[in-house]
Amino acid sequence: MKEQRLVPEPEFESYYGRPILKEPTWKTPDVPLYLFLGGLAGCSAVLAEGAALTDRPDLERVARLAAAGGAAAGTVALIHDLGRPERFLKMLRVFKPTSPLSVGSFILAPFSALSGAAAAAQVTGLLPRLGRVAGSGAALLGPPLATYTAALLANTAVPAWHEAHRELPFVFGGSGAQAAGGLAMLLAPIDQTAPARRMALAGAVVELAAAETILRRHGLVAEPYRTGRPGRLIRLARNCTAVASGITALAGRRSRLLSAVAGATYVAGSLTTRFGIFEAGLASARDPKYTVVPQRERLARQGGGSAKIDG
């Protein structure tokens, strides 16, 4: 698909074309990778608990390891991103509902411990009952873990992220379900992965619908999602998701190979989505157009030169 500009280039003033906002200092790949891993881990914990309840041991094993591994790797990525990694425990110094990063730390820390314990019990066969209790706890924290990361991005002044704050949680939640289901399709035997296929397919539908809503609803501010490198990443991700969904729906339950291919494509699509959304935010912070023009339009709608309250 070709890039196209849907709105004429707006005129605006700036200070020598320089950005107004600071570009986020969050590092690539640390933070987009964490967004992906959090979604994968959170939804895998849900999948693991369902597998345990419905007696699907191979699916349970794969999902428990994905939950624990995703959380552990995600934690490492987050700590590595800090300017002062040795001070990571300062994250748990206070609890602030106004800071999604604070809230997220208090989701991620217990989730990592619980999913790790559940995986350890699964692998070693020791303390199975405690492992199940831990797994249930992880499953409860899983959906918040998969979706709070949307608040992390949206609770900023970055136009492409902030304006999409209603849709991003659904993009991330759906993308996480798609990744967890996809990984299980790739690694678990086909006779146990029917729930994983349904989860991936449903997650993909939610993600595609929410992402499409961002593009349709937000006009100029959604432009970074469809242009340049982030636009290419997002189109690639969408194609991955669509192709994987097609294979899953048509042949997911018949062919182990095709199911694995679809699963891997789902995982790739979810990962690419996070990089695309992350980079779209950076692009919208870099260009003063996305800060000035929407604010000017808002002022014009209010019919005055001075800032007035809306919402």
Binding site: K22, A151, G173, A202
Partner: protein, 316 residues
């Protein structure tokens, strides 16, 4: 947790400093850019007093502004706008090869200066917002509200997570390279505690930077605006003075002679936490959707489309 949005008349009480008579008055800056001469004494005084390291010696080539922007190691930044005039300019006088400076025409836009450009200078600084996004999103509590109503980073707590950086609607705070932590203007918290004037205001030779009680500064700014309008300077306007604006008013506000974006300021900033309630509600709904998908994936094949319909229908 203090209030997140809207008018707030006592920011210190909101932050837990007790009743209004238990804390000092809110202090701030009024930067009157109509008398700024672009000398950058404020930048130098700030660097010296706060021992802020250098952040590179770059020539931008865009104007006399080589400081470029506020950042972790630039807490005052003198913007230098050199803007072509809209009005057509008559042929320039013959060049005698004499050295000359640009257009020192004070009214610029109205009267067309030599060379057809006008100069605007403005010393930018952290706005010490009433509703400060940097403070609200800081997960460690490193950023805090002082008893003077200002917003300050505690370097012994900051772990360099960087959340404050994209949260600031003005692009003020940043991580310092090589150090990893976030830094910004403290409004000379140490000097305030000794009853002294912040270094930049102390050094300003034209009283463009005025320091004082915010309520008093607002009155002073209103008088100055009236004075300028009476003199026919219709382009003068106050920026960040309105306690009903998107950040609840700035603790450091400005008198500008052009649109804010010409100086690199956002025309109508709104603190991100205004939408925090909506944000968490949507996260909650999305988490419930994910949980529902999980349950439905195991329960029945027909349940999934039904749940999906509810989720998508209820999303708006």
């Amino acid at each position: 947790m203090g209030s997140l949005w809207g008018r707030l008349d006592d920011v210190q009480t909101d932050a837990g400093y007790g009743s209004p008579d238990e804390h000092p008055p809110r202090m701030g800056f009024f930067t009157d850019t109509s008398v700024c001469i672009g000398c950058k004494a404020c930048e130098v005084a700030c660097k010296e007093w706060n021992e802020v390291p250098d952040d590179g010696y770059l020539l931008t080539g865009m104007s006399y502004d080589n400081t470029q922007e506020l950042g972790a190691s630039t807490w005052r930044h003198v913007a230098f706008v050199e803007k072509p005039l809209d009005v057509p300019v008559e042929a320039p006088p013959a060049d005698l090869g004499m050295p000359s400076m640009g257009p020192p025409d004070p009214q610029g836009a109205e009267s067309g200066g030599e060379g057809g450009v006008r100069w605007l200078m403005s010393s930018d600084v952290c706005k010490h917002c009433t509703h400060a996004a940097c403070l609200d999103v800081c997960p460690t509590g490193s950023l805090f509200r002082t008893e003077y109503g200002t917003v300050v980073v505690q370097p012994d707590i900051c772990n360099g997570c960087g959340y404050c950086v994209p949260a600031c609607p003005y692009g003020v705070i940043d991580l310092r390279e090589g150090d990893g932590r976030a830094f910004k203007c403290t409004l000379c918290y140490d000097r305030l505690k000794e009853g002294q004037t912040p270094a930049c205001a102390q050094a300003c030779p034209t009283e463009s930077i005025q320091y004082g009680e915010l309520s008093e500064l607002r009155e002073r700014a209103d008088r100055r605006l009236t004075e300028l309008h009476d003199q026919g300077v219709d382009v003068a306007r106050l920026y960040g003075r309105d306690p009903d604006d998107g950040v609840g008013g700035d603790g450091a506000f400005f008198l500008l002679l052009d649109e804010p974006e010409v100086y690199g300021l956002p025309p109508d900033p709104i603190v991100t936490t205004r939408d925090l309630g909506s944000l968490w509600r949507h996260v909650g709904a999305a988490a419930a959707t994910v949980a529902g998908l999980g349950v439905a994936s195991f329960a029945s094949r027909r349940l999934v489309p039904r749940l999906l319909g509810t989720a998508l229908g209820g999303r708006r």
